[in-house]
Subunit: 452 residues, 2 copies
């Protein structure tokens, strides 16, 4: 490709094997091959690429680590360039006095967590893909994670960002303070915008002092109903756990089959509860939870040391990859979120839909904040079943929205949920969003065909 | 006014005494008299008024309790109608299982706090005007308060809202869940929009379980430098106080002159620190703070019961009204916010500017989050001094922005800070905001002349 000299000095590729690798994410979506991939190393290089690409009429897709679950970084047009931010991975500042950190967009979430730990600091958002996913991608999807129960999502920690628009303009939005009221907070639009407004080239994060202690409780229940009952009882008791994860028996067998971690597979459901804070206070809360569980015939194991805890979390985080490994099944995964008081209603509905359709549904996720990962497992190659699987998706989304919930809690809309966006948003809201998109990106270069 | 029959059934007034009262807020700004005031009692009535007003070519100013500090609700055009939301003050839902509350916009912040207390729930944002200010106004200005140090600002608690646009359309934005990624989060644009995009007609708030215990520490220092040194020491020790307020001797004398609360007036500065949480843990943190203070020759008094604490807060909240009462002075008040590590630098700069100009500056505020209320006191009627006062404002704003801070932490821009918005925002950002304004309000009916 002759034109490559025009963006000389910047690492690029048009090798087929690269193009294929970068045309996927972690969802079931499939797209076109892009024309080119570029790996900028600075904001200036991003600007250079953007100007070159728009001049050539190429659509622009910013990409973090490609761990997205909604097809948000998949090209739908072969006249596309993928701008991979994965080589902009420097932690530029860790400020212990101001409780902020400034990072490049390609910094891996888990690596930042480890670096902050050295400074006795703590960045709460912890998507299951934290060992791979990037902070830029986290901002673009407003990523959550188990700890959202207590600490909220990426939006609550992104104090500011630098973005590059499709006309090459660089904007610095927000800043280094927790408070700030200076006109419309444009930064908030970029959080969760899935690369459709511009490219996030720098992020200012709020960080917290590291909690003094953490304990993890693994509670097993013989009945799924008892586990469901335990969730509101724990939260209603005034305890704010930092995680409250729900796994049913199908998840447990799946993990054991793949990893043999010694998890109880004879039980119907498992809660993974984590408490953090001052040691006497979390011990007391831990005892309260053990008692709540006992009354519902739940048995509690406690893991206090780092490695025991990490093992449990490895199990939890492996569920999604494990499902992908099921050779005869194709998964349609969604991440609905419902108000907490509708949680058991939702589990009952999912069971009912699975039974009616005779399609297995594996559910797990963040019971503490109502965010459930629903995996609809259809037979590979069975198109009729797949169609019925997508009909289930529609039914689930309609149910969720009727409860005041949302069709995505932390994955975003991308292309996989785009056909259902009308269930969530009225036409006039979508039109307002499209008008906002046109302000930032009048010619529609940025990640076209996503969200709406 | 004949046309009034057109919005029959809705409480309105064009009496001069009403028009005068509603042409002020709590700032030093002065505006025009509006033509009319309307007090809707429902979203439907808001829509009716909006349609009637736009048809008449009247500008529309939504207004909460008028406690704003930036002139945000002051009419600058006599062809205006004020829509006062103060009679829409019902708490529609308190949901203990989902930790949410749905309120009408005119609900008073402090009244909601009290009602939630009965349900053992807690709404953190606590502007000094909490006994008067409304939740709708809080959302429109992204209000903060002392507890922001630990709990953040209104934005962190507004999960959703209903808004009425100038074309009469009603939008329901966000929802009842903490997580949600479904396109651009339009709700976030309304938070801090100061009535320029539409009228907030309903708010869904996140609420928290009530903290188990609260203790309040009043620490007095003989030297302002020691007080300044104590702030980063306390925060750096890993303690997250729920408030960390700073008052200098001029504030203290002012309060004592007006209220005689028995505050120590011989000291140079005072910190008001509040801790909440599990009792053993906050006692331990309290002791840590006492020791930090002692090393800096600070003396600590502890208030544990509700009334003793409320007394201290009454004192703190009375500062602004006390300054207004100073008969020979006019106050120019601003609420800058700086990164925490620039706090002492900022106090030194303010002192220096006051000395150079020979104009007294009283500063107080939220040392824990870098948000300082700066009151520049100029002689009443002395126009030359007033001009110099506004020159100081400009210098302070330039300094604050150079530190990565903001010209308003929690009051907003309104009209009083509008002349300085260019210091904060680049031209291209302002243009983007103006374009967003045109999407929501193409004909410019909503609160014109504010922010930019």
């Amino acid at each position: 490709m002759k034109d490559l000299t025009l963006i000389e000095g910047i690492e690029i590729s048009d090798e087929k094997e690269d193009l294929i690798c970068y045309s996927y994410d972690a969802s079931y979506a499939k797209g076109s091959l892009p024309e080119l991939i570029a790996w900028p190393k600075s904001t200036e290089e991003i600007v250079k690429i953007v100007k070159w690409a728009t001049n050539k009429g190429l659509k622009i897709l910013p990409r973090g680590a490609g761990t997205g679950m909604a097809g948000g970084v998949i090209p739908i047009n072969s006249k596309s360039i993928i701008i991979s931010l994965e080589k902009m991975r420097e932690v530029l500042e860790i400020n212990q006095k101001n409780f902020t950190s400034i990072v490049e967009p390609g910094v891996i979430n888990g690596e930042l967590q480890k670096e902050l730990m050295i400074h006795e600091l703590f960045y709460p958002p912890d998507p299951a893909s934290l060992d791979y996913c990037t902070i830029g991608g986290n901002v673009a999807t407003n990523a959550g994670g188990p700890r959202a129960v207590k600490y909220g999502v990426t939006r609550n920690y992104c104090l500011g960002c630098e973005v590059v628009l499709s006309n090459g303009a660089v904007l610095t939005l927000g800043g280094k303070t927790l408070k700030r009221v200076t006109g419309y907070e444009l930064k908030e639009l970029f959080i969760g915008s899935e690369g459709t407004l511009g490219i996030i080239s720098k992020v200012i994060l709020r960080v917290l002092p590291q909690p003094e202690e953490v304990i993890t409780l693994l509670i097993s229940f013989d009945s799924i109903d008892s586990a469901g009952e335990a969730v509101p009882k724990i939260i209603g008791s005034g305890i704010v756990p930092r995680t409250l994860e729900f796994l049913d028996s199908s998840c447990l067998s799946l993990i054991e089959k793949n990893y043999e971690l010694g998890l109880p597979t004879q039980v119907e459901a498992l809660l993974l509860v984590e408490l953090d804070g001052e040691i006497t206070s979390i011990k007391r809360d831990g005892e309260k939870i053990v008692n709540i569980a006992r009354k519902l015939k739940g048995e509690t194991q406690i893991a206090t040391d780092y490695y025991a805890r990490e093992n449990l979390w490895k199990a939890r985080r492996s569920i999604s990859p494990c499902i992908l490994k099921m050779q005869d099944k194709e998964k349609i995964n969604i991440d609905i979120v419902v108000p907490l008081d509708s949680l058991s209603k939702t589990f009952i509905k999912l069971n009912q839909l699975s039974n009616e359709s005779n399609i297995p549904i594996i559910s797990f996720g963040h019971a503490g904040d109502g965010n459930i990962h629903v995996n609809i497992l259809v037979e590979k190659g069975n198109e009729e079943e797949k169609t019925r699987g997508f009909e289930l998706v529609k039914k689930i989304f309609e149910f969720v929205v009727s409860l005041g919930g949302a069709i995505s809690g932390e994955h975003g809309i991308g292309i996989t949920k785009k056909p259902y966006i009308n269930i969530q948003l009225e036409k006039k809201q979508i039109e307002l969003m499209q008008a906002i998109k046109r302000i930032f990106d009048p010619k529609g270069f940025m990640n076209p065909g996503k969200i709406f």
